[in-house]
Symmetry: C2
Subunit: 211 residues, 2 copies
């Protein structure tokens, strides 16, 4: 999930009309991130993104070439942003490993609440839409989940080392399972407009780990 901050209206910030190349590009990426976490790619369309930021269509293609390369760049940015966020929790050695996972799910929960359960996970939205998206997104999205899973698996390995989960536990498989179900929990939290699906899934996952 991403919870992009509201546009920062500092005094002295140049207006869109006067914004330079790199700033306009960044504004487009930020709007794209918002639209893709809320509505996904194919339904939202470039038009809505351009409407949100008041940039003409011609400029868009000037900056990104195609809707496909815009999407690819957004997936890359989101993946890196989110990997960083994950590390903040999963590498926090002040907490025991399983509590770090709980701290992450609690963080995701507040993030979704903050956006009234309207924003979900960009990777989950695009994964769901794959049937209507450029095939080139598939490998990229698979790699994103693989990356998040590896970070989770490393944390579960630490839980194994300290004896909080069974010595036989297959941490790669458990990490994969977490992300498989977690995307379902985000989907349902959006549909229900409630944190309940996130809580229920996080509780089941943590209590179902082999001891």
């Amino acid at each position: 999930m991403i919870y992009a901050d509201k546009k920062n209206h500092r005094p002295g910030r140049p207006s869109k009309e006067r914004a330079g190349y790199s700033e306009t590009r960044e504004i487009l990426l930020r709007a794209g991130m918002e639209v893709l976490t809320e509505k996904g790619f194919s339904s939202a369309g470039i038009d809505e993104i351009l409407r949100r930021v008041g940039v003409p269509k011609g400029s868009f293609y000037h900056f990104f070439g195609s809707k496909e390369s815009f999407g690819a760049e957004l997936i890359g940015l989101y993946s890196a942003y989110f990997a960083n966020k994950l590390d903040r929790f999963l590498l926090d050695i002040t907490l025991p490993p399983l509590q770090r996972i709980r701290a992450f799910t609690d963080y995701a929960r507040s993030g979704m609440a903050h956006h009234n359960y309207k924003r979900g996970c960009l990777a989950g939205n695009l994964g769901q839409e794959m049937g209507a998206l450029p095939e080139s997104f598939r490998e990229q999205l698979k790699a994103v989940f693989q990356d998040w899973q590896s970070r989770f698996a490393a944390c579960l390995e630490e839980a194994k080392e300290v004896g909080d989960i069974s010595a036989d536990a297959d941490c790669q498989q458990l990490a994969a399972t977490f992300w498989i179900g977690w995307e379902g929990a985000i989907l349902r939290a959006k549909l229900e407009g409630s944190p309940y699906p996130l809580d229920l899934y996080a509780d089941f996952f943590l209590s179902g780990l082999p001891r």
Copy 2:
């Protein structure tokens, strides 16, 4: 999930041109079901559905009034079709209750394989897309999941009665958890083009039940 059968080309079946009112209506619903399980609602658009079946746009509105009421009818049909399918497994008294759940997940697995992991769950697709869909779909989709969950909960109650899960188990909560994660598993199976996410999630769910 729905795995609508291929159109049945019986000899003597009237051509689309000569098809009557109720037959054209049914052809549209069938195509809608296919498109919505593959691509979702807003991305697919009515245009693709009409292209698939060769029905002019004017007819479509004649039959359904609006895209929204077409969608509502499809959700209702899918929900009923699928509830029936669930009952076939969950009420099969020739199997112990937890094996019925496994039989259902195995069935879903073969269904997805049969369609090359291109078709997922209509309710999951639409749930993911809620941000871009008519608000009226929200309560309808929530009720669909509630219905499927109740059927699951009843099966889990039977597992409790025969002592296969703990007497303290909260079957409603466990059933809700199953569906939360299962929609994530379908999403990932589509993305990966593989049954692995379904297997992993079904195994984790069944082994994580309180004993």
